[in-house]
């Protein structure tokens, strides 16, 4: 990593009349379009006319103030701008979760370094196989009974401190996962921060889609990190099942992760 990235939680400045987030051309377009809608709405009356008038007032107000909440929601964060430049991507959407694991940093790092350890805690992953020192092959069940597969390239940025995984896939929806490991204060073990970033197609619509999917990815990342913590601290992963499923009885893997972690743009296995 060339420089220290900003926190993923840092957002752009909330727009206000003193800090508008629309440019002059956007504001002129919004006002003129709004006035046209108001004029047309008043002319036609009826429910459609009322709706047009209301929409026109909103658009004209948007242009007058220069403030658009929707545009603000679709702004990339400071971290996403950093990631986009660092990875050479056209766009970026990132989620992040942190967990403190009450085990030594070297042990936690070694656990994350082994793909099979992580795959065992992801119910939707069928297998993860180490190909060589720098790559692994993952498979999962996809929609319509299709088996999906992808290759991850591993990179130790700094021994016992930082790891990075990149999808080998070329094209949009590339993924990068970064994990950093630091000593927690007061002997509490190891702080692990994982950032999961994806490259959506350029444009606001694709970013909005990536943001919607990221809600599920965020939840899945939380569940995964919590299960890693359970495994390393207690030697097992908590489960609420009554009986073990036949296939993974020995694993005792947790249920209710509930959502898929969008690690990669998977390709069908050949």
């Amino acid at each position: 990593m060339p420089s220290k990235p900003p926190l993923t939680a840092v957002r752009s400045v909330t727009p206000s009349r003193n800090h508008p987030n629309l440019g002059p051309a956007q504001r002129v377009f919004s006002i003129s379009g709004g006035l046209a809608l108001i004029f047309n709405g008043l002319k036609h009356k009826g429910p459609l006319g009322i709706a047009q008038t209301a929409l026109g007032i909103a658009a004209a107000w948007r242009g007058y103030t220069g403030v658009c909440k929707l545009t603000h929601q679709l702004d990339q964060t400071a971290y996403e701008h950093f990631m986009r430049k660092d990875a050479g991507w056209s766009s970026s959407k990132a989620v992040s979760r942190s967990v403190t694991i009450n085990r030594p940093r070297e042990e936690v790092f070694a656990f994350f370094l082994t793909p099979e350890n992580l795959a065992r805690l992801m119910p939707w992953v069928q297998s993860a196989q180490t190909l060589d020192e720098h790559s692994s092959r993952w498979t999962a069940s996809g929609p319509l009974n299709k088996q999906l597969g992808w290759t991850l390239k591993h990179n130790i940025i700094q021994q016992d401190q930082a790891l990075q995984w990149d999808t080998a896939y070329q094209g949009p929806w590339k993924h990068r996962i970064e994990a950093t490991f630091s000593d927690a204060p007061q002997g509490r073990g190891t702080e692990v921060k994982v950032v999961l970033a994806v490259q959506p197609y350029p444009g606001s619509a694709a970013y909005a889609l990536a943001s919607a999917i990221a809600q599920f990815s965020d939840r899945a990342l939380l569940n995964l990190l919590r299960q890693v913590k359970q495994q390393l601290e207690t030697g097992e992963v908590a489960t609420n099942q009554m009986r073990a499923p036949q296939s993974d009885a020995a694993q005792g893997t947790a249920t209710e992760t509930g959502a898929f972690l969008t690690i990669d743009q998977p390709q069908e296995d050949s």
Binding site: L222, N240, M242, G252
Partner: protein, 389 residues
Amino acid sequence: MRALTWQGPNHLQVDTVDDPSILNPRDVVIRVTLSSVCGSDLHLLGGYVPSMQAGDIIGHEFLGEVVETGSAVTGFRKGDRVITISIIGCGECEHCKRSDFSCCDNSNPNPSATDLAYGQPCCGIIGYSHAFGGYAGSHATYIRVPFADVNLFKVPEGVTDEQAVFVSDAAPTGYFGADQADIQPGDTVAVWGCGAVGLMAVSSAWLLGAGRVIAIDRIPERLRLARQKGRAEVINYETTNVHEALLEMTGGRGPDRCIDCVGMEAHGTEADYFYDKTKQMLRLHTERGTVLRQAIRACRKGGTVSIVGVYGGLLDKFPMGAIVNKALTLRSGQQPGQRYAKCLFDHIEKGQLDTAYLLTHPMNLEDAVQGYAMFKEKSDHCLRSVFKP
């Protein structure tokens, strides 16, 4: 096996379900011999706790016999008579190592629900919704308990089943309420709610040095128990203005320590109760805060309000101004019973704590639906229905 299952709000039924089995090395399977209802089950029953699913087995306060142990269990073997602390700890995370077992990081298999609602994942609780782990409850023939060496306690020879079952939840909850109230010798302690937890808080307040205990409820039989078994002065809030009475009884100071053993479904006679009830019926919020508001308002300046009644969501009209300007300390939590179980058994053996009288209605598990109805309606002086699977 047979089990009492939740099918929807106010709809329970006894079903035949799969037996549990050992899934992790630190698990045990217990044959349940006694399993009690609990006031907090009523929040599940009424549909006030989200994330319940049809078919969930409820119940979390129980006594039983170990029938199977996982390979890593060292402290228990087949045949041991045990109680289980219903709030599950792992024994290994930083919270468990501080004995804050109810803050356990590792016992909830479904961390995302409480992470979303409360900001961080909370512990797992037996038989208490999927937000708290989705563990099968104890109103069943058998139950699997995780992290057995942390959460199970052998029942001493001198303690009967009827005494021991309440060391699973009601007794440690009441004791925790009194303990975290930071009672100083001679303090006046007010306890809201004279159900099993409230009665245990009354007894615990004496054990921890209270000079005077005042119990508040509306059910005459429960007030009688608080007076006779708990040696408390009592206030019936349906006939007496609680705030005025507490000030009158304490020279205008207010109680030094106030303990809320009621929680989110508080009843009352004042305007705020009807306001809360209306909003709750309209599903605009989940909590009725009458008791908490009364406790905060009555507590003496610089005093402590201890909350062990269950709250699940957002509370309206919370008197933050009184807390700040009277320099109150608020303490709360689910009970870390692992901290207290041995001490409670010791008090029971020495005759310093009576728990057996809480069991008013022993019945067969097949009659559990009726048992909950009696408990909910508080009919036939029902304090606790306890099922024998």
